[in-house]
Structures are given as structure tokens and as C-alpha cells.
Symmetry: C2
Amino acid sequence: MTVPSLTALLDLLSGELRDAAATYTRRLSDMRGYYRDPEAEARLLADDPLIYTYGESFAPEVEGQLRFGSTIIQPGRVGDEYFMTRGHYHARPEAGEVYLALRGHGMLVLDRRDGRGEALELRPGTVAYTPPGCAHRAVNVGDEPFSFFSVWPANAGHDYASIQRDGFSLRVVERNGRPTVIPARSAP
Amino acid sequence: MTVPSLTALLDLLSGELRDAAATYTRRLSDMRGYYRDPEAEARLLADDPLIYTYGESFAPEVEGQLRFGSTIIQPGRVGDEYFMTRGHYHARPEAGEVYLALRGHGMLVLDRRDGRGEALELRPGTVAYTPPGCAHRAVNVGDEPFSFFSVWPANAGHDYASIQRDGFSLRVVERNGRPTVIPARSAP
């Protein structure tokens, strides 16, 4: 099989990826139960705010092939918890992922199956590597859209179910006007 | 084996990658015989100009792991041929590579083992995908440094020898002040 070359245009200032093979929009109603404060979630659902948009390229799900995409997370919070992506493990635990932050102020929350979590700060130009075996979630902790470009093995696959069931071991919340990383078990 | 997470800082304006695990500098004397015009090469060797610099991250050479790097190619020509990288195939032909152009004006020249070549134009924000099985070389066709960020499977490996022996099927030269793609067999 000959795979064609491919070009797309990424707006380096906004993070918008034109020519994406697939685009997705996630509103709060698409991620019920992900935030720690059910009452704040219920109040916000009346407006059902846009949380993030996402575009990605296509490449066959074969070893060695790569896909790339961009994600733009809106600024905002559900209660004290910053807007974030759902987050996932790769279905193939050996698959890593590279992030390049383009705009705004974000965090990358990583979790390992053994419960060891960490949070990396992302500013424009930060390149972050999610090593194999880590769940990963991006969080917008600033007051403007936070966007990043990412690249992952095309055969990585996605495991969203583990996160939906267990969540991450860390959450990023606002405390005295500043983003603060807390254990997920803390009371709202 | 637990692989640690990793962050590095990429200057989105210049393309410079700080915190690289390894950096390389390629002067003309490091790539003798790559350009089409031996007399122009010999004349320039007196100054031995810097052609490009390159920095990359480390990740184990294992399936699913990814490495990333940045390349900055200086503006200039050897005779009528624009400054360029040596170019390589991946030793593992199934490995692709993603490029994100950051600054300047460049081209990505691709070649397949069957001799089918193509050249893709790269402007800031262009994302280009080198599919599996393609040799790839970047060329600076502008008057300022051309830089790009790239991501590839950590186990891709490099085959520089095929290019050193056979070259690419296409070359990028200046004609009437404009970058022009010509078959490599053309006379200087």
C-alpha cells in the first residue's frame, strides 16, 4: 500500500487546524460526570458551554504511521475546576504522544495505572512528552483559549472508559485566583 | 521500564529547541558531494558555511515511543542549489514523520525507492506528513533561516547511505530568482 503525503495548515497563533480529516466539538453535555462538582455542572448545563474543539489528520492504523491534531480548550470552570478534555489512555499502552503548546496557559495531567499522577505546565512553545502507559488530559488554566498541537502513533487507539470510570488521580482547580493541583479525592 | 515524562521549550518564532538531548551542526564540509555543482562546492568550502543545526529529544528506540526535534536551515545556495539537509530514509520503512514549519520558506522533498519524487512547499504553520517508505529532505528556499519541528517514531532509525549513494530524484534550484524543482539528472 502506498500512503500519500499530506499537508495541512495549522494557525500557529490560534492553534486552529485547517484541512483536518475529522473535527469534533465537546460541550459540557458531552462530558457529564467528568467534573468534580455535580451541582456546578447542573447549573452550567442550562447554557451547555463549548468546552473544546478538536481536529485530526488521517493515517492508517498501522505501526509506524503517525497522526496529528490540534485541540482548542475554551477558558472557564465548572465550579472551581478548569475546563479540560475528557482524557484517555492509549489502547496500546506502548504508545506515547508529543504535545506542542501554541497559545494560552494550560496543564497536561498524566496518570499511570498504578495511580502515580503528575501535572506539567504548558505555555506557548512548551513541548511535552506523554510517555507510554500514561493517561493524558489537557486543562485550560488561563483566561483565553488554550491550544496545542499533538502527534501520536496512528495505531495507538483510545481508552476513554477507564477515565470515565476511575477519573484521574489529580484535578486542577482554582484557589485564590491561581491554578492548583489537588488529589482527586478532595471534597468539592 | 517506566519512562519519565519530558518537557522542552521550542521557540515558536525561531524554531530553536532548548533542552534538546542532542544537538548537531552541519557545515558544508560535513556534507561534501551532496550538492550538484562540485566547483561551486569547492569555492564555498573556503568559508565552510553553516548549513543547518538540529536538536532532538531522547526516547528509547522502542515501538510506540516518539522523538521530536527542530531543524534550522540557513539561507544560501551552493551554486544554484539551495541549502538543504542531507536527507534520509528511515531504516524501518514503516515509520512516517510529521513536520510543522515554524519560520521562513522551505520545501520538503520526498522520494520513494521506486524513484517517485515530490516536493511540498512549507510555510509557517504548514504541517506535512512524510508517509512510510519515503526519503525526506528539507530545503531552505527563502532569504531567512527556515525552521521546522518534527516528530517521528523513536525506533525509526536512519539510512543516510542510500541518499549519499543515489541522491534524491529531485533537486531544488534557483531559476530567475525563484525556487524551481528539477530532475536530479539535469546538468548543472
